[in-house]
Symmetry: C2
Subunit: 315 residues, 2 copies
């Protein structure tokens, strides 16, 4: 983060609001974007002296959210949409209205996307079959629960997703929704995948090189190819970013103690959160616009403007 444009009080407020998002290793990108909307709403509801001050506070908030979870494309788009919306607003009142409208539109889009994706994914879940699901993605959860609610019977097998174990959150959520779940550890993927009719994963961001998701997705992808299991990434098109921003995920190294808390002398711990699955390892990208192949993605990678405060050079 560069020097804060916001004053010290706002900087503190934003830091406090964002800390839980920064520390959240269990939620998917779409779910976190919904919570980021409330962060903008809180900042917006504070005392605002001048239009410049409000704009500066919102810019600071957008940058801080992106910095908190650099791999999560929806946080970038949410901030970008807000900043583009308020750019030419003249009064505090006008900024508030435009920001509120942008936030509401984004929230509606996220929910509509998840619902459309769930309907498309329904046809990928064969009755009576076993489906593999990796890590935690609210889009994947809603697709599976939607299929179950529509009367489709199937079982799900999922793994822990070390080190933060969000696979347990997935297992619990699906089991509460009446889906029979088989759970194992990540290195046992090879033992269970061969019995699955399809594998689903969420994703954090997408660009030409492929799809970024929780580390382990690449291992899942090569195992799926080896065992002829179709692998689908379920994701709204709000996950598309520019190619250069895709590699921001590499910044997201977490403390080694989250992996091993009393490491002996001479042992360094690597705790990277994300990896990249090239398109050629994916059977399809299930979006609200349909199931996309690599050849379909060009318009989505290049069809958005980036606010000048959020270009990579400016951060």
């Amino acid at each position: 983060m560069n020097t804060p444009e916001a004053d010290k009080k706002v900087a503190e407020q934003v830091a406090n609001l964002i800390q839980p998002i920064r520390d959240d290793l269990l939620s998917g990108a779409a779910e976190i974007a919904l919570r980021a909307i409330t962060v903008f709403q809180s900042v917006l509801s504070g005392d605002q002296i001048s239009p410049e001050q409000v704009k500066s506070n919102l810019t600071y908030t957008a940058k801080s959210l992106i910095d908190a979870q650099p791999a999560m494309a929806p946080l970038f788009h949410l901030g970008n949409d807000v900043l583009l919306a308020i750019e030419n607003a003249q009064t505090v009142e006008e900024i508030r209205n435009r920001c509120d409208t942008a936030l509401a539109k984004f929230e509606k889009m996220l929910c509509a996307s998840a619902s459309t994706i769930a309907d498309i994914a329904y046809d990928l879940i064969d009755p009576g079959e076993l489906i593999f699901a990796y890590s935690f993605s609210s889009t994947v959860v809603s697709a599976l629960l939607n299929a179950r609610a529509r009367g489709r019977f199937f079982r799900v097998v999922c793994t822990e997703a070390r080190p933060s174990m969000e696979g347990r959150k997935l297992a619990s959520r699906l089991a509460s929704g009446g889906i029979e779940v088989i759970h194992t550890f990540d290195n046992a993927m090879g033992l269970v995948l061969g019995n699955c009719s399809a594998a689903f994963m969420g994703c954090d961001c997408i660009a030409r090189p492929g799809v970024v998701n929780k580390v382990g997705s690449w291992m899942l992808a090569i195992a799926c190819r080896e065992l002829n299991v179709p692998l689908y990434a379920l994701s709204g098109t709000e996950k598309f970013v520019t190619d250069e921003r895709l590699f921001e995920f590499e910044k997201h190294e977490r403390p080694g103690v989250e992996v091993w808390d009393n490491t002996p002398k001479g042992v360094a711990v690597l705790n990277q959160q994300f990896d990249l699955v090239p398109f050629n390892l994916l059977t399809g990208l299930v979006t609200e616009k349909g199931i996309l192949k690599e050849s379909d993605i060009e318009p989505y990678v290049s069809n958005f403007s980036v606010h000048r405060s959020l270009t990579l050079a400016s951060i």
Copy 2:
């Protein structure tokens, strides 16, 4: 286990001696075989009334050890060697002598194998490079420590090997021996393997279909092939078994609570310990007889007699 041939007292003694071996999820097969030698020695040192009773006690011990770790070929061979050695002995004294000789020969063979394998593996460790090592194998540890002791500088990257985390034991052992270690979790294999010049694993048993080792070895193997990293299994030829015995590893399912101790309702936990790496995924099998390819293994799979009490049909 069928009805014990041994009396109740001996059955209890054997059960107590073997329990730590049954519960050991952190040691490799060669290491456990060394401890099994002491189990035979304890049984042999007890009060022995008749030659038939001694033979019966030793047969019971051999079967119990195999049952405790059905994937670990050295336990089978140790028991088999003992039973074949004592088969035609007439007196208690003669049985004791022949058994002692068989145990000493087995121990000497294990140590000599490890030492020869270490010398062969030395040439597979390029100076200054990064070597991947999976799970815990005393053969791999001695190869790496031997290379370090001979003045070769290299770093090792290893992963946890969930659920029992014997990768931490590996990391600690190597670091104590002056090797710089990088440690991460199993699903991050794909992030580190690409930087490695070779990958090493141990093994529990070998037959025509391939090599059985800690679950996750198959994932490692397909990742190595994808990233063009040569993968070697380091193992003495005492790991060879008949094809039918190879699949005994599938029996070794452990309690689900070792993976997740408060599983929610509707979630079943799968805790399999081993998987099978087909020969076509291995660059070579480093044994005391040299680096073997699939085409070299035939003599080793078929060159041993199985005592009648240890055929699969009899257990």
